[in-house]
Symmetry: C2
Subunit: 310 residues, 2 copies
């Protein structure tokens, strides 16, 4: 798969998270994709684990929570029991996963369920992003306390992007990783980053018909291939038109004209140009609009000024 | 490594090779990279093998020829002997590899050395590209009979691109592969394609200093971080400036102003903007040009019209 990333390394400031959330909002608005930008903090998950009897439970809890979408709350509870959590702990986690309401309600409920400075630190991060003035991502942000992100190197705020109106997994994700470089032997380099899942974004845009039609069409003008000598003449003109920004191509083989027409129709190429022996001698060509079926005979020198807009 | 390809599938016409050679010439001219576009044909190599006693020698010959650059003519000859070719055959190959002169001379010499229709078919392909009218690649094309391309699926014309004025392997290559899909069980789909070696092209452009300076700089304006409240005000203005196409960023942390200045200088950011408590109240800011050391105090509303060009 193809992934496109934006990262800020070397700074612990939450302003970076604000910037990255803004990049998500800007990019997906430009692409025309309505998104939910899910937010959570690893600090909240760590506080939940602590509250359930110890930070050594963190991985067990996140792995189980991560499956919530797929297997449902009951099976998550079963898995937690299998992973050695007792009934009271599982109940706490169920209460945690059941927190609902708007973003502010969720955070207020959470503050009651898990008191203490560790949860508060995570809640403050989320509030910082929610309350930052003048941002463009507010409509998209959804605090999602069930968001865990599989990767264990995240340390603070975590992001996930879901496209609205289409069945598709996350099309982006990321978070703060203040100890990631430590894994590679270089300590104390904080970082935060987001990813764009390019293949999935393509699929989403394809499903929602967001690609402009002319992106697909590509070629505006098909030059018919009417023989070796004629196509060399055509090729010279094609070069000039391309220089002028017109997207054109020569049908590569001299086959029946019907076949060349069908190719133009199939590829939704709006114009064709014919240069036969006679036209070549007279320095003229026949331009046909395949939509309107209109055609005109014009000189080679006029062709460069022809308006190939549909 | 990252590779970018252009392929035409479904057509045997040599016009496609003309188009692809044109794409190479156009792209590298736009990038400012002077190139040699090396051409050969697998048909010529096959005719050479046939002339040396059989097509079963083709792989032995191409593998050895492919090493010519690295090990030299004598060692290629030694390798050919080891691979079972006799002295007369090795002499023929040495004569072949020694063919020199301009493109037309090379082809004429080759026609004498290897007569017969098979070599002629390859020579005709090369001549088709060399003689095609109105193309933009003529200055770059070098017929290179020692070009073999390691991959055995090529069947016709083969390409390789070498950057001039820089020590670097090929930065592009390709060729016709009329039986490639046969390897995957689908017969009779001809194709021809070229590749761009993106990483190497980057390195070439870097070495030749072809990247424009402002590509590196990126940010035009650094907003100093002078406190939590002030930076939120700055952030709002940054949003407006970005909408207007100005590339700006907020220093993410409130550290000593010296450190923020040094950051701007190191990243060659030409302008800084300061919004302190007083400026924030007065809706003003101080804009400084780090090159000329000039600074002006202007209102927030005027900032959007400020000319941040150096």
């Amino acid at each position: 798969f193809v992934q496109c990333d934006a990262d800020v390394v070397g700074s612990k400031s939450l302003v970076n998270e604000v910037e990255l959330a803004g990049i998500y909002a800007t990019v997906f608005r430009k692409l025309g994709v309505d998104i939910e930008l899910k937010l959570n903090s690893r600090k909240i998950l760590a506080a939940l684990a602590e509250h359930c009897g110890g930070t050594d439970k963190l991985t067990d809890i996140t792995v189980a929570i991560d499956k919530l979408d797929k297997i449902g709350l009951d099976k998550v509870a079963t898995e937690l029991v299998e992973r050695g959590l007792n009934d009271q702990q599982v109940d706490t986690i169920k209460s945690y996963l059941a927190i609902s309401g708007n973003n502010r309600t969720k955070l207020a409920t959470l503050r009651e369920l898990i008191p203490g400075e560790h949860a508060a630190a995570g809640i403050e991060e989320l509030e910082y992003l929610l309350n930052f003035p003048g941002t463009n991502y507010q409509d998209a942000v959804v605090v999602d306390l069930t968001l865990a992100r599989g990767l264990n190197y995240y340390t603070g705020l975590i992001f996930e992007v879901k496209a609205k109106n289409v069945q598709m997994g996350s099309i982006g994700g990321g978070g703060r990783y203040d100890d990631l470089t430590g894994l590679f032997g270089v300590a104390d380099i904080p970082g935060v980053g987001i990813s764009f899942g390019v293949d999935r974004i393509y699929d989403v845009m394809d499903e929602l018909n967001l690609f402009p039609k002319d992106v697909r069409t590509g070629t505006q003008v098909l030059f018919f291939n009417l023989g070796e000598a004629e196509s060399k003449v055509a090729f010279g003109i094609i070069g000039e038109l391309r220089e002028a920004g017109v997207r054109c191509e020569l049908y590569p083989e001299q086959v029946k004209i019907d076949k060349q027409y069908k190719y133009a129709e199939k590829k939704q190429i709006p114009f064709t140009v014919s240069i036969g022996t006679k036209e070549s001698e007279e320095q003229k060509c026949v331009v046909k609009n395949l939509l309107t079926r209109e055609q005109v005979t014009i000189s080679f020198s006029d062709l460069i000024h022809f308006n190939f807009a549909k």
